[in-house]
C-alpha cells in the first residue's frame, strides 16, 4: 500500500496543533499516528518520505492560479466563497512555512 497525506508537523505545542487544524485540510488532525495505524493493520515494513517542499510548491501554485483566474472562479462559486478560499489558501501557505503542516508519502508492506 502507498498513500499520500498531509499531517501536522512534528513536536508542535498544543496551540500550534490547534492552528494546524485551522489552516490545514479539513481532516488533517488525526487522533493517532499513521505508523501506529499501519502497525495495527498488520503492516510491518513502513517507509516514510517527506514531500513537504513539493506540497509548498503545489499550494503556492494553487494560490497563484486562483488569483490568475479570479473572475472565472467568482462566476463559478460567488465572491464570498472565493474570498474565503483565498484566505484559506494564504493561511495554509503560512502554516506550511511555519512548520505546522507537512506532506508525506507512506509505503507500507505486509511480510
Amino acid at each position: 500500500m502507498a498513500f499520500l497525506t498531509i499531517e501536522p508537523g512534528t513536536d508542535l505545542t498544543p496551540a500550534q496543533r490547534r492552528r494546524a487544524g485551522r489552516v490545514g485540510p479539513p481532516s488533517v488532525m488525526l487522533p493517532t499516528s499513521y505508523p501506529s495505524l499501519l502497525r495495527s493493520a498488520g503492516f510491518v515494513d513502513v517507509e516514510i518520505i517527506d514531500l513537504t517542499a513539493e506540497y509548498r510548491i503545489t499550494q503556492q501554485a494553487k494560490f497563484d492560479e486562483a488569483e490568475r483566474h479570479r473572475d472565472e472562479l467568482i462566476a463559478l462559486v460567488g465572491v464570498d466563497e472565493h474570498e474565503e478560499g483565498r484566505r484559506d489558501r494564504r493561511n495554509t501557505l503560512d502554516g506550511i512555512d511555519a512548520g505546522l503542516l507537512r506532506r508525506r508519502l507512506y509505503v507500507a508492506r505486509r511480510r
Binding site: 500500500m1 502507498a2 498513500f3 499520500l4 497525506t5 498531509i6 499531517e7 490545514g24 485540510p25 479539513p26 481532516s27 488533517v28 488525526l30 499513521y34 517507509e47 514531500l51 513539493e54 506540497y55 503545489t58 499550494q59 501554485a61 494553487k62 492560479e65 486562483a66 483566474h69 472565472e72 472562479l73 463559478l76 462559486v77 506532506r103 508519502l105 509505503v107
Partner: protein, 135 residues
C-alpha cells in the same frame, strides 16, 4: 451528520471540477487533466506507481479515487487493472466516463464504496493506493 456534510462538500467539489476554469487550474497545478481536486501532482502519482511495482496482470485499488485520479492514470501508465472506489456518486460517474473515454473497460472499474467496507474480496488485489483521503 459530519459524514453527510463531508459527502455534500465532495459532491459540490466534483460537480465544480467539470468547469473549464477548474480543469485549467488542475492542468497547471497538478499537471493532470483528470478531475483532481487534491494535492497529488503527476510526479507524485508516478512515484506511487513506481513504489507499488504496478504492471500488467496486477490489480490496484484506489480508495477515495473521486474522478479517477490517480488510480485510472496509474492503470493507464502501467497497464495494470484498477478498481476506483469512492463514496461520492458524482465522482464515481466522472471516473466511469473517463474509463469509457480511455477505452479501459474490462480492466478498470469505478464503483461506489467506502474504506470501511471495500467492495473487494480479501487478498484479491495486489496494491492499494489512496491520496489525500485522510486529510
Amino acid at each position: 451528520m459530519s459524514e453527510i456534510l463531508e459527502r455534500d462538500r465532495h459532491e459540490r467539489g466534483y460537480a465544480r471540477s467539470e468547469a473549464d476554469v477548474v480543469q485549467a487550474i488542475g492542468r497547471v497545478v497538478l499537471d493532470t487533466d483528470y478531475h483532481a481536486n487534491g494535492y497529488t501532482t503527476r510526479a507524485q502519482a508516478d512515484r506511487l506507481g513506481d513504489v507499488l511495482d504496478l504492471a500488467p496482470g496486477r490489480v490496484l485499488v484506489d480508495v477515495g479515487s473521486g474522478g479517477g485520479w490517480p488510480g485510472l492514470y496509474l492503470a493507464r501508465r502501467h497497464g495494470c487493472s484498477v478498481i476506483a472506489i469512492d463514496p461520492v456518486v458524482t465522482g464515481v460517474q466522472t471516473a466511469h466516463r473517463r474509463i469509457v473515454d480511455d477505452a479501459m473497460t474490462g480492466r478498470a472499474w469505478a464503483v461506489a464504496g467506502t474504506a470501511a467496507a471495500l467492495p473487494v474480496r480479501p487478498a484479491s488485489v495486489d496494491a492499494v493506493v489512496h491520496t489525500d483521503v485522510m486529510c
